[in-house]
């Protein structure tokens, strides 16, 4: 039994938008049957020990196209978890374009961890994130963000970062912060080509964004630097179950096929090598689905940064190299730059003479890093 289990339901392949970097494949009106979703929730609940936590995520496509079903499933999961004294942690990622009354009820669900996808300023956002009919979507999405802020909702904005938008990364983050966004989660587009020159530009962009992050502490966070701060500060990092990659984490496609991560579902082709044997509608729990896939790789075990790195994200590795264990230069560059810039900005907060004094009394060699 797990103390925490993460179940991600990809409710539909359909979407209001046609983002040209979407890794979820061609859009089609295929929806997960609600009975199957309930059965998957039952299995996840039975995989969690009494008193444990079920993380239930809704993903797509655009999950709010099925807002009625989301509400039903939230109520169902709440009831099932209460019966076993389990805690339910729901989360949902939306593109921010579905604004009907039912969707708004979902967005205001108590305790919902909400992520809104927005790449920032209109020029950047509309370059890749357009409606199915080709219209730009920034006005609609920015309106949703403003409304959430007015409602005092706690949410994060997920920004996709690409080589062609690097030069406006800080501008986009600044615009979001001015709107009132407090949590920004940038994420690299791993499915596109990053040249060596792009990697150098990425390092510069990370440095500039880190300075912007430092200016906003402690009221504003940027995911890339928060996590590295935790590593440098030696804070205990709780298990992030969704990175269990099939072990303590499961993603379900509308077809019922199972995957270790929702990012690997794509078009949910039957020959997808990342598909886990079994079906959501078959079985009483997920306990037998233990991952035998290790992330250990010789390259990483000889890297001093191994324990402070995000290359444990096996779907990211897979996207870059076709090997879940092996990162590539982009992932290493990104991780190393985030760590270096986090440390640089944090040290800047401390007066220089204090740094010097501290170094004398506590040599770096004694640090547990």
């Amino acid at each position: 039994m797990y103390e925490r289990y993460s179940l991600i339901l990809m409710l539909t392949h359909n979407c209001t938008m046609r983002c040209d970097y979407c890794y979820m494949g061609q859009k089609r009106d295929t929806v997960m049957p609600e009975g199957m979703a309930c059965h998957a929730i039952d299995r996840a609940v039975r995989s969690v020990s009494d008193g444990g936590t079920l993380e239930l995520g809704f993903f797509g496509g655009e999950p709010l196209l099925e807002a009625d079903m989301v509400l039903d499933l939230l109520e169902y999961a709440q009831h099932q978890c209460q019966r076993r004294d389990q805690r339910l942690e729901p989360c949902l990622t939306t593109n921010g374009t579905v604004t009907d009354p039912t969707a708004r009820i979902v967005l205001s669900w108590p305790g919902l961890r909400l992520a809104v996808s927005c790449d920032g300023i209109a020029e950047v956002h509309d370059a890749h994130r357009r409606f199915a009919d080709g219209r730009p979507s920034s006005n609609t999405v920015h309106g949703t963000i403003r409304r959430l802020i007015a409602d005092k909702a706690d949410f994060r904005v997920v920004m996709v970062v690409r080589p062609d938008t690097l030069h406006r990364l800080v501008d986009s983050a600044r615009m979001l912060r001015r709107m009132g966004v407090r949590h920004i989660e940038p994420g690299l587009d791993l499915w596109t080509n990053w040249s060596e020159s792009d990697e150098r530009r990425l390092e510069s962009a990370i440095a500039a964004l880190a300075d912007f992050w430092g200016e906003g502490l402690p009221n504003h966070s940027i995911g890339w630097f928060d996590e590295k701060t935790a590593h440098i500060a030696r804070l205990p990092i709780p298990p992030i179950t969704r990175c269990g990659f099939g072990d303590g984490a499961m993603a379900v496609a509308p077809s019922g096929r199972l995957y270790p991560c929702e990012r690997l579902i794509g078009e949910d082709r039957p020959d997808n090598p990342m598909c886990i044997p079994g079906h959501a509608a078959e079985g009483s729990d997920f306990l037998h689905l233990r991952s035998t896939l290790t992330r250990e790789h010789e390259v990483c075990t000889h890297c001093a940064m191994e324990g402070m790195c995000n290359t444990f994200c096996r779907c990211s590795n897979y996207a870059r190299t076709g090997d879940i264990r092996r990162p590539d230069s982009l992932l290493c560059t990104w991780n190393q730059a985030c760590l270096a810039e986090t440390a640089r900005v944090l040290a800047k907060v401390c007066p220089g003479d204090m740094v010097a004094k501290v170094k004398l009394v506590e040599p770096a060699a004694k640090m547990r890093i």
């Binding site: 990092i237 990175c243 076709g322 770096a364």
Partner: protein, 78 residues
């Protein structure tokens, strides 16, 4: 774009880059020392997992005012 148009990036993936311990110490020493000394205007207090469908799972750090003692170790998560 169709998923079929987005093959795994094997053809242009460059090899990973290792970081040496010397490099790591050089990068983190100043920030780590500041933390150990409690000299920050603000200090990280706890880190929480953030669950995001479709994105790398990051963590969110919460902050607190510094402890009065300059030698106090960073506090643990509540």
């Amino acid at each position: 774009m169709d998923q079929q148009d987005r093959p795994i990036q094997l053809e242009y993936a460059r090899p990973p880059k290792r970081m040496s311990r010397t490099e790591l110490v050089a990068i983190t020493a100043a920030a780590g020392a500041c933390l150990a000394a409690g000299a920050w205007a603000l200090r990280p207090r706890a880190v929480q997992p953030v669950m995001l469908g479709g994105e790398v799972a990051p963590s969110q750090v919460t902050w607190q005012k510094p402890h009065p003692s300059p030698t106090t170790e960073p506090s643990e998560a509540p």
